[in-house]
């Protein structure tokens, strides 16, 4: 488990491996963090710059938001790690139910 404490006192723990793994993790986090800030800037820009209609900006911002949620889940909340299969299953099921609901509302209730 890469997300456990380094100072557990367990002699069988390969500290060198852990350190490398953590450094790698940190790099991913910084990269995704700067990407997220960049995406946010683009979202603001698409509203601020004249010439785009709301038919473009609204779906575009929603798309950026979805990308950010994925970054958040996988890089900050460690969903890519082992042992997170059950939370993944439930998150995706929830997303599925939510999408189905939204899809119905936009197809047969409002339009």
């Amino acid at each position: 488990m890469t997300n456990q404490q380094l100072n557990s006192g367990n002699p069988s723990v390969d500290i060198e491996y852990r350190r490398r793994k953590s450094a790698e993790e940190m790099r991913y986090q910084v990269v995704s963090f700067s990407l997220m800030i960049f995406l946010t800037l683009i979202a603001f820009a698409s509203v601020a710059i004249k010439g785009f209609t709301s038919w473009f900006t609204v779906p575009f911002i929603l798309l950026l938001a979805a990308v950010q949620v994925v970054f958040q889940l996988f890089y900050f909340m460690h969903m890519s790690h082992k042992g997170h299969e059950a939370p993944q299953l439930f998150l995706f099921s929830g997303v599925f139910v939510a999408i189905l609901t939204v899809l119905t509302f936009v197809t047969i209730v409002w339009w």
């Binding site: 439930f90 099921s93 929830g94 599925f96 139910v97 609901t101 197809t107 209730v109």
Partner: protein, 622 residues
């Protein structure tokens, strides 16, 4: 501190149940409260049948009839069927996976008290100016114009009870994911545990839409919003969608545990491993999955358009496939088994043809074009009573007989049990079979009376006679329960003699820590495997050690009580000046209790190894 088996007086017992966090005692609370509401809902059903027994009857007025049908549906679904299933889930599921309690015992108690206060709030409407009268579906176009406070009781009461169900479901999920005994893999879990798991996942996703719908309705009725008011730009169909996005999964939340109960019964009393275990698991999960894609079949006639109707019709019929898999697996479990005709097995036998009837009419009403004919007639009433009474209620009655010894340590009388079955079963078919034809002949549902000479008279009388039979069945069951409790003849670990799963390997009722040592699970039907290997009990998976237990707490009761008080404030704040202070007072009680819980460290206590050993030597059953 010796924590084992202290004698208590009557007051002490009451206090014990008010503060308990033990899953077995909470199960008993669910059983008592759910049983009470079942009798209340049953009485309402009897009033309906008395009113409809003869044409032009004036036993109740039209307004009162609307209140009775609304409360009958709401009570039976939310306050009787769900809590009774929760009672068995609480009592049995932790034992079946070899756990000492659920994952969050405190939250378990909170879930019960929220349900209880929600149910009491809803039923207080009878004494405070009239019950809800817009049907159990409470369609917005009707509900927002309902006079008086009836629908407000519905909205606020269900909101509180729904919270309880939601956190109960989450608790079961975490328990099954995290607290299985060593060796208890997912594919070794008993079918009742599997169906609890899938039903809890469905609760997790189905109850939030109900919460949203009820919140919008609350704002419309009590705080001047216009979400569903067409004249103000709202949309009344949104309520129907939100309600059924919850409502259709809800009926699978009810039927899946019923399937789980019958799977246990067929295996135990055929004395044979459940046929097609993995396909049963697959079918359960698939039903749970498909259950979320079919809700609009309740709304075929609202004008969704042919494409939407066709999609939802086909998706609905697809559910027949996994259900069919289950039916055949149960039949094949009995095939070649050594079948023992006990009371639970009677119910299981009665269940298969009854439920298949309900399934067949289900396919009929799922056909969108034909549904225009069936919609809002007694045909639909007959259909859903065949699946809910023929499936869920028969399962609840069967489980009551099956697990009564495990919950209370005494055996219900078998002869009385079979008498109950025959009265209930014959009464059920007498009441509802004829309603299919009433529907096809054109009798609309939810009418408080009908004129003579339209061909409805005699059929309605038959239906009412059936309701009397069912009532006699329930009365015999109550008598059975009282007599069994009075006689109080204690039984051993495995009173049916053919128990297969872990709950039958420990005393009846189990000691409050369930397992002295967690059992080692070697395969499906863990206890049966050990018995076949010639052993008396389970092999322990751990040495005897101290057991960590949670402390009892009065806080869950107070949190729920606060919401109960606040609900009264919310309801009366428009007409009375004291409404707002009461809302604030109630919320203060709730959040104050939560705050107390957060700042006060409660680490629970340990049962020491020495006490456990001593307990063993004395042969006490705790």
């Amino acid at each position: 501190m010796s924590t084992i088996a202290q004698k208590k007086g009557f007051g002490g017992t009451i206090w014990d149940f008010l503060t308990t966090v033990d899953h077995k005692k909470i199960a008993i609370l669910y059983l008592i409260a759910g049983g009470f509401f079942f009798v209340v809902g049953g009485l309402e059903a009897v009033f309906i049948r008395v009113q409809l027994a003869v044409p032009n009857n004036d036993f109740v007025s039209a307004g009162a009839f609307n209140q009775i049908i609304t409360m009958h549906g709401t009570t039976m679904i939310f306050l009787a069927a769900m809590p009774l299933l929760f009672a068995f889930m609480n009592a049995v599921m932790p034992l079946q996976i070899g756990a000492r309690d659920v994952a969050f015992p405190f939250v378990n108690a909170l879930g019960f008290w929220l349900f209880f206060f929600g149910g009491i709030f809803l039923n207080l409407s009878w004494f405070l100016g009239g019950a809800p009268d817009a049907g159990w579906t409470s369609y917005a176009s009707l509900a927002i114009h309902s006079k008086g406070h009836g629908v407000d009781f519905y909205v606020l009461g269900l909101q509180i009870a729904g919270l309880g169900t939601l956190i109960g479901g989450i608790n079961f999920l975490v328990t099954i994911i995290n607290m299985r005994a060593p060796g208890m893999t997912y594919m070794r879990m008993p079918l009742f545990t599997w169906s609890t798991f899938v039903a809890s996942a469905m609760i997790l996703f189905a109850f939030p839409p109900l919460t949203v719908g009820l919140t919008l309705m609350m704002f419309d009725r009590l705080f001047g919003a216009n979400f569903f008011e067409v004249a103000m730009g709202g949309n009344t169909v949104i309520w129907e969608h939100l309600f059924w996005i919850f409502g259709h999964p809800e009926v699978y939340i009810l039927i899946l545990p019923a399937f789980g109960i019958f799977s246990e019964i067929f295996a135990i009393f055929s004395r044979k491993r459940l046929f097609g275990y993995s396909s049963m698991v697959f079918a359960t999960v698939l039903i749970g999955f498909l259950g979320f894609m079919v809700w609009a079949h309740h709304m075929f006639t609202t004008g969704l358009g042919p494409v939407a109707n066709a999609i939802f019709a086909v998706a609905t019929m697809a559910i027949g496939v996994p259900t069919g898999i289950k039916i055949f697996n149960w039949l094949f479990t009995m095939w070649g088994g050594s079948v023992k005709f006990t009371t639970p097995m009677y119910y299981a036998f009665g269940f298969i043809p009854s439920f298949v009837c309900g399934g067949v009419t289900g396919i009929m009403v799922a056909t969108a074009a034909a549904d225009y004919q069936y919609h809002d007639t007694y045909f639909v009433v007959a259909h859903f009573h065949y699946v809910i009474v023929g499936g869920v209620v028969l399962a609840i009655l069967a489980a009551t007989h099956l697990w009564w010894p495990k919950m209370f340590g005494t055996m219900l009388n078998e002869t009385l049990g079979k008498i109950t079955f025959w009265f209930f079963f014959i009464g059920f078919h007498l009441t509802f079979f004829i309603q299919h034809f009433l529907g096809l002949w054109g009798m609309p549902r939810r009418v408080f009376t009908y004129l003579p000479g339209q061909g409805f008279d005699f059929s309605n009388l038959i239906s009412s006679v059936g309701a009397a039979f069912m009532s006699i069945g329930v009365l015999v069951l109550l008598y059975n329960i009282i007599m069994t409790s009075v006689k109080n003849v204690k039984v051993g670990n495995d009173p049916w003699g053919d128990g297969r799963t872990l709950e039958w390997s420990i005393p009846s009722p189990p000691p409050f820590y369930n397992f002295k040592q967690l059992p080692l699970v070697r395969g499906l039907d863990a206890f049966w495997l050990e018995k076949m290997a010639g052993k008396k009990g389970m092999t322990p998976a751990e040495p005897l050690g101290d057991i960590h237990m949670p402390n009892a707490s009065f806080i869950p009761f107070m949190i729920s009580l606060g919401l109960f008080i606040a609900a009264f404030g919310a309801m009366y704040h428009k007409n009375h000046a004291w409404g707002l202070p009461v809302i604030i007072l109630g919320l203060l009680v709730t959040f104050g209790s939560m705050f107390l819980r957060s700042v006060k460290d409660d680490h629970g206590f340990h049962i020491h190894k020495e006490d456990l050993v001593e307990d063993n030597e004395k042969g006490a059953k705790a």
